[in-house]
Amino acid sequence: MTLELNAVTKKFGSFTAVDHLTLEIPESQIFGFLGANGAGKTTTFRMILGLLEQTYGTIKWNGDSIGYNKSHLIGYLPEERGLYPKQKVDEQLVYLGRLRGMEKSDAIKQLDYWLNRFNVPEYKGKKVEELSKGNQQKIQFISAVIHNPKLLILDEPFSGLDPVNVEMLKKAVVDLKEQGTSIVFSSHRMEHVEELCEHLCIMHHGTPVVHGGLRQIKRDFGKKNVIVRADFDVSFIKDIPGVVRYRQVPEGCEVQIESEEISQKILSELQGKGFVRTFDLEEPSLNDIFIEKVGASYE
């Protein structure tokens, strides 16, 4: 069950929210879909779900267009969380499950499974507004996966969760992937994306600026990071040609270099100046790539 987007474009009047987006997400893959706020992520998700109609292009899933007749195969966790605040957890999850085409008994069974898995079986009969924000998040996650979807769209699934719960949900996402679900995953936390996604795409003003496998993207990026910790002043490094960015940290610096070779130049410059505690050549982080491609001032 492969999801294919072909030259998908969405215009709102004269404003182009998504411009010629072409993607392919195969079965059993977590696809990272990144971009700054307003880059067109939510619009893309809404088009995939059929809530908005694309201006041009096609969206196919397994060769078919996506309509409400497939909603039982699709799970969606919107960025803006929402559940009925006054209703009990079991009531509304069974309701939402039934709207995804589940039988009532089946929905109850799945609900119990997930509540136990997330260590919160005691919330079953509670009203959503009585739960903490993090726990509401878990319930929301269950609402997206209760019907065991084949295509799952997760918009910022881990925001507002403590590290323990993030791990718990990550594990659940990976398990779903291994069961064959195609997952589209959006996050502002690059370390989560690096950990979960082998393929990704970075959107900027509606256009994909980076697209491909994570390793390939890093290799293509070219630039690398050098980390230096030393007992003496290393600020002279920023004047070495090929050093793109220089950041002073206590006991040293972190710099970005144009290519691997520059690291050797830095190393030779450091020699004889004093005691070097650390000299490390690193792959660029996704964070670096994101900032470079989408523009500075973004965190």
Binding site: L51, T55, L83, R98
Partner: protein, 419 residues
Amino acid sequence: MSKFWTILRHTYLSHLKSKSFIIMTIATLVIIIGLTNFQNIVDLFSGDDEDSTSQIAVIDETDQLYTALEQNIGAVNEEVELTQYDGTEEEAKNAVKDGEFQAFVHLVLDDQNLPAATYYAMNASESSTVNQIQQSLSQLKTGMVTQQAGIDVETVEQMLAPVEIEKVALAEESKTEEELNQARGLVYFMIFLIYFAVLVYGNMIASEVAVEKSSRVMEILVSSVSPITHMFAKIIGIALLGLTQFGLIIIVGYTSLKMNQNELVGGMFEYLGLGDIPISTIAYALLFFILGYLLYAMLAAMLGSLVSRTEEVNQIVTPMMLLVIAAFMIAMYGLNDPTASFVTITSYIPFFTPIIMFVRVGMLDVPIWEIALSIGILLVTIFIFAKIAAKVFKGGVLMYGPSSSLKDIKRAIQLTKKD
């Protein structure tokens, strides 16, 4: 289709179980039971209130009026009790001051040998008793005068009887005065029902949609079910809720009426024309009720989908409420003057048709083609609005922003377009 039923059931049950609905229904039922038992309640309080009988002392210096007066008063009002007083005038006045009597009446014959009286009471403002005494004395006086003049009683009765006027309407579409009066009560009742239903349930739908939108659960809902299915399931779910509520009210009201029918015969019961309702009026009431509800419910769902926060619901539904109130006002006017051209014209305007055409149908013999035309226009409007509302709803539920005004309708429709 099964999702339609799931939403319908969920909407219906979650409201049925909600505290506000239960409280509102029970409160209405209590009021209905109270109204239908009004007479019993009044009797309950006045039953042991013996003091309400007015004790009145009478000194009759004519020696011929007292017996006739007492008979006369006794026949009209049981709550006035006359007592012949043996003492002097002064003693009688003191008795009133002591509270032994409510009042004291001094009967005399004037210079023409006709009755005259003086009425003494602690305060002279209490007039109903005085009026009764005056009336009784006047009757006695008439009798005395005619007797003195030698005219027999029958002649007097003929002289005093009112002239009978029979009203006959010549226009074909008018109903007889009697029919009209009867219809007025029923139509009035039905207008109220339609008016309140639209007001209460329209608001309910709008806030329901706004709650789902503001709590952001809407995005999950519309990704599972098409917004159109969602909207109509919601509208029908609330309609069933309304029918349940009205059903309860009618059953309880009817049972309670039946139990108290004896007290109510001739009273409000007949005034409302509930004794003898033409089947066609009921059928029209039901038809206009359903059509009116549909139109306004779609309008409400559409408006509700435009706001981002529940606090803004009242603001955005105001124009709709004004429409209903305007229809209600015109209908009230139409009850008194159903043939006014103003009423005729407005009965074809779809937003007014359900209420105003019903007034005309209930009060007049409206030609069938006129009714068909107005229903036709209404149906077409409902159809067009279903399309527009579905579109606005589809776009509106995805739209969040600070301002909520009717301009957003355009934005919402834009959102559902391809570009």
